[in-house]
């Protein structure tokens, strides 16, 4: 294929990617949007394979097929509730790929330089050939880009693995707070920068491998220090990193498509993180630097008792109610209760009651997590409302059912300035006539903060696994 044709294909692919992201502005268009993405990707890969100098077709085909089958298999099998960890896991692959490609770029560069000195440049093919044409200044810039690619790639790789571990429950979700952790991070970053300087000065591959290792450690430590409640931000942040890594590699390889796509993904992840942080009223920096535990000594103790209720109490209250709001949280996802909830919704709506869902921006472990689960269970999306849309309606609500949510309905965010979540916008469920909290036990939530809501007079605790509880409730409603 001629260079012109390849560039044309890249342009089309880039436009398709932009359309794919822009198409998500509403649900109906979104189904089309994904095809833009798929076609764009296919076009980009096909054009690249067609580039002169790219050979090894068999290996490529083999790798794509194996990888494709593996990806297909994982994606087919995964439960919708496992989405967060899946996305995190996928990010790690992109990060590692970026590291590999960065190292490759260095190897090729050495190769090209050696060839240049030996005067055998003409024999070089592909990327090495382009490098051979570069000036000394361009080579230095290349080294900077390469360094950035490896650094970000490695952080993404290990960070995503830790995020995966935390989200899937294989690692404790509590924030790890090593003494002097900020200093630790700072030292590591300075070490990386120093190594990068050495590399620019002409030091060999070892500096880059060291950078990859140190950056990997930073990634681990960064994510380990972030508490469970901040996980949605982490996932979208890692998403952003994987984009920047791709963009950095794009600079290294002089490939505009990589730059465009990487920048798109990078900025989208960054904005998502920003939206999340705003939803929690926390500054981006403090989330990234992590760690709530230990610092929150100011939170007030709560007086009073939790009063428990069983399925028939809940059923009686629900039967009397006309206006019901359901607040789902991560507990619903964990217990896979969404279809039972959907069933309940259908039944209550069938009886002419007004049932709506209130979704907090950071409910669950991913932005929009609850929407996806409810959609999976076929809850019509026009009764699923955002916090701002429904918060004013709570005083007129007869019954609120909270399913596995905790921090997002914590009144301490408004009442207790000493609380670690003070100032975070929350769903004002306590203004409703009656609140039922469906919860596994008396323990605190993911963030480890006591919730005064559970002790309020109009709150009843409906203990048990969310799915089992919802099914019991359904049975009571007959």
């Amino acid at each position: 294929m001629s260079n012109g044709l390849i560039t044309a294909a890249y342009v089309v692919a880039a436009v398709l990617f932009i359309l794919a992201l822009g198409g998500l502005s509403n649900q109906e268009k979104a189904k089309r949007a994904i095809w833009y993405g798929i076609v764009g990707m296919a076009l980009a890969v096909a054009a690249t394979i067609g580039t002169s100098g790219v050979e090894q077709y068999i290996t490529i085909a083999l790798m794509v097929i194996i990888g494709g089958i593996a990806g297909w298999f994982v994606a087919k099998r995964v439960q919708m509730t496992q989405m967060p960890e899946l996305v995190a896991g996928f990010h790690s692959l992109v990060g590692l790929a970026a590291v590999f490609i960065g190292i490759n770029a260095h190897l090729e560069m050495t190769l090209a330089l050696a060839a240049k000195e030996a005067g055998t440049v003409a024999e070089l093919a592909g990327f090495a050939a382009t490098i051979a044409k570069k000036t000394a200044l361009e080579l230095n810039i290349l080294k900077v880009e390469l360094f950035l690619g490896i650094l970000i790639g490695a952080i993404t790789f290990t960070g995503s693995i830790i995020a995966y571990g935390k989200l899937s429950g294989k690692l404790s979700s509590a924030a790890l707070t090593l003494p002097g952790r900020h200093l630790l991070n700072l030292t590591a970053i300075i070490a990386c920068l120093a190594l990068g300087w050495l590399y620019l000065d002409g030091a060999g591959l070892w500096t880059m491998i060291l950078v990859a290792l140190i950056a990997g450690a930073i990634g681990c430590h960064l994510i380990l220090a972030i508490g469970g409640a901040d996980m949605p931000v982490v996932v979208s942040m890692l998403n952003s990193y994987s984009g920047w890594a791709a963009a950095a590699i794009g600079f290294t390889l002089g490939n505009d498509l990589l730059i465009v796509t990487g920048a798109l993904v990078g900025s989208s992840g960054a904005i998502l993180s920003y939206i999340m942080c705003k939803g929690m009223n926390r500054s981006f920096v403090s989330v990234i630097l992590g760690g709530w535990g230990g610092e929150s000594s100011g939170s007030a103790d709560v007086d009073g008792d939790m009063v428990s209720a069983d399925a028939d109490d809940v059923a009686a209250a629900v039967e009397d109610a006309d206006n019901i709001v359901i607040v789902p949280g991560y507990g619903m996802a964990v217990a896979q209760a969404q279809s039972a909830v959907s069933e309940l919704t259908k039944k209550l709506r069938g009886q002419g009651k007004r049932v709506r869902f209130a979704i907090h921006p950071v409910a669950g472990r991913l932005p929009g997590h609850m929407n996806v689960l409810l959609a999976e269970a076929k809850v019509p999306y026009d009764i699923v409302l955002e916090m701002e849309e429904i918060n004013e309606d709570f005083p007129d609500t007869d019954v609120v059912i909270i399913i596995g949510a905790n921090d997002i309905v914590n009144p301490a965010a408004q009442d207790d300035p000493g609380s670690p979540i003070a100032g975070m916008p929350v769903l004002e469920v306590w203004k409703a006539r009656q609140v039922f909290v469906c919860k596994r036990g008396q323990g605190t939530g993911y963030s480890g903060i006591e919730n005064p809501l559970f002790f309020k007079d109009n709150t009843r605790m409906f203990y048990g696994d969310a799915k089992a509880s919802m099914e019991a409730l359904l049975k009571e409603l007959g």
Binding site: N26, V54, G71, L111
Partner: protein, 528 residues
């Protein structure tokens, strides 16, 4: 102590203040109960039923007044009753102290403690004793039944083999408790129901009962001149002459259309406002019915005669009965007796059968009209406000065009300044970069910066609920890094080959997995 219910002396009064059921509950409070023989007969409570509930049946009113310490009644006592009564009794009953000051003086002279059921403050804690509401509820229901009884047609529209029946059109004026009850009964009979009230905030309640709220048209579009009743304890207040004019105009417009008018408009301690005038009655269709629940206070309809059913020349029936609750004596006695029982419940905190009059208690203080030889009516302002004052509707201050222009200009300037600043700093950075970087790099840099901008603008448009699919799709797209690996795989070096192949493998996992997951997610979104 003993609680006793005498037979009501007012003519036609069928209610009784003590039922066998409430007597049972009073016993648990430590009271003994007495009832005058035959007191419950008109409400279908026999002496036998009382005896079965452990109530002592007393032969005469005189004996009852003598034996009982607490007298419970429905209607205010007559002057004769008070004159015959022994000293120092406690009385719980409707009193209407504003209208019966003489009676109040007489009761005070007898050193009685009198709790007026009509004075129970309208706060949520006292709702269980709010006899006015429970009686009004019955009156509203009964008004519809009475209307139906005097109306020659169905309420509900029907298409039958014998022809089409139009639905009745009912107008309820005054959406207090009685009005709302009437609306409920009328809509459930199938009539088209309209309702009017001077307090616009009840429109929501009216609509919740299934009726249509009649709004007045004000030329200047100033809708909130329908007034706010929250500061009068939820009751209506007299309206301004202009407002009244508008209201009557609307009624005149409606009169020929409606079949049944139920008026329930009362203003505390004032004669009932005159809302349904003679000409409106004349405009009504023959066979129409007017039920005037305000007849006792002069009536909302000009032609109403208290306690009478009259038929006008154009065949409109006007009913001015004042005893609607009494016409459903069993129901109203049950509810009233329960209200009284709750009152005694609050009066007996120790549950030892001894009433304690706690002057600090808002409800008891408000209800008490005379005590210890002193007239304690009218009560001081209650500590708790009846109804949280309705938030004054925030009037969006119309800003003048100049102000608006000024504000916009200011905002514009601020945003311009910000943009200029950002552009300046960004531009300087770019310049700095441009002086050192070679043109080949700058070319890529342009692409990069533009893409970040595109990404920024595109992502803000993404719907909140689609954030997870967004993440999945960007994840899939980020595997574009495969392009880098593809470009490298054909290098001569074997290490490069292996690493590139591994990168291709990983990126492929991501491409296929990412897109498939996104598709699965998006496929689930559906509209009801």
């Amino acid at each position: 102590m003993k609680v006793g219910a005498p037979k009501e002396t007012a003519s036609g009064e069928a209610r009784v203040a003590l039922t066998p059921e409430s007597a049972g509950r009073l016993k648990k409070l430590g009271y003994e109960c007495l009832v005058e023989t035959g007191a419950g007969m008109a409400a279908s409570f026999t002496d036998q039923a009382y005896q079965d509930a452990g109530v002592e049946v007393v032969d005469s009113a005189e004996a009852l007044w003598k034996q009982a310490d607490v007298i419970v009644k429905v209607r205010e006592p007559s002057v004769e009753e008070i004159e015959a009564a022994p000293e120092g009794k406690t009385l719980i009953s409707f009193v209407w102290p504003a209208a019966n000051e003489d009676l109040l003086d007489k009761m005070n002279a007898k050193n009685m403690s009198v709790l007026a059921m009509d004075m129970v403050p309208r706060i949520s804690r006292a709702q269980k004793m709010d006899a006015l509401s429970s009686m009004a509820n019955i009156a509203g229901y009964r008004a519809v039944v009475e209307a139906s009884n005097n109306f020659g047609r169905f309420f509900m529209g029907q298409m039958t083999a014998a022809g089409k029946v139009p639905p009745a059109k009912v107008l309820v004026v005054g959406a207090g408790v009685a009005g709302l009850a009437a609306i409920g009964a009328s809509t459930s009979l199938g009539a088209i129901t309209l309702a009017f009230d001077v307090r616009p905030e009840v429109a929501e309640q009216v609509e919740s009962m299934g009726a249509e709220f009649v709004y007045l048209d004000f030329d200047d579009g100033d809708d909130d001149s329908q007034q706010d009743g929250a500061d009068t304890g939820g009751y209506a207040a007299p309206s301004s002459p202009e407002f009244r004019e508008k209201q009557l105009e609307k009624f005149r417009e409606l009169a020929p259309e409606v079949d049944i008018v139920i008026t329930t408009a009362l203003i505390p301690n004032r004669p009932a406002p005159e809302l349904w005038t003679e000409d409106m009655v004349e405009a009504m269709k023959p066979g129409s019915v007017v039920i005037d629940l305000a007849a006792e206070r002069g009536g909302n309809c000009t032609l109403t005669k208290a306690d009478e059913r009259i038929v006008t020349d154009n065949d409109v029936t006007i009913i001015g009965y004042t005893d609607f609750p009494s016409r459903m004596a069993t129901q109203s006695s049950t509810l009233y007796a329960t209200n009284v029982r709750h009152m005694l419940d609050d009066l007996t905190p120790e549950k030892d059968g001894k009433p304690v009059i706690d002057m600090e208690d808002d409800v008891i203080r408000g209800t008490l009209v005379c005590h210890d030889g002193e007239i304690t009516w009218p009560p001081p302002e209650p500590k708790t406000k009846a109804i949280g004052a309705a938030k004054p509707k925030k009037k969006e201050k119309e800003e003048t065009p100049e102000e608006k222009a000024e504000r916009e200009e200011k905002a514009m300037k601020a945003s311009l300044n910000r943009t200029a600043m950002m552009l300046g700093v960004g531009g300087l950075l770019c310049l700095g970069l441009g002086t050192v970087a070679p043109p080949s790099f700058m070319q890529h840099f342009i692409v990069f910066v533009l893409s970040v901008f595109v990404g920024y603008h595109v992502i803000w448009g993404v719907a909140h609920s689609l954030h997870t699919p967004l993440m999945a799709i960007t994840n899939a797209i980020s595997s574009i890094i495969i392009v880098g690996a593809l470009l490298q795989i054909s290098s001569g070096s074997s290490i490069v080959f292996v690493l590139a192949a591994a990168a291709i493998l990983m990126a492929s996992v991501n491409i296929f997995g990412g897109f498939l997951v996104t598709r699965r997610m998006l496929a689930m979104f559906k509209r009801s």
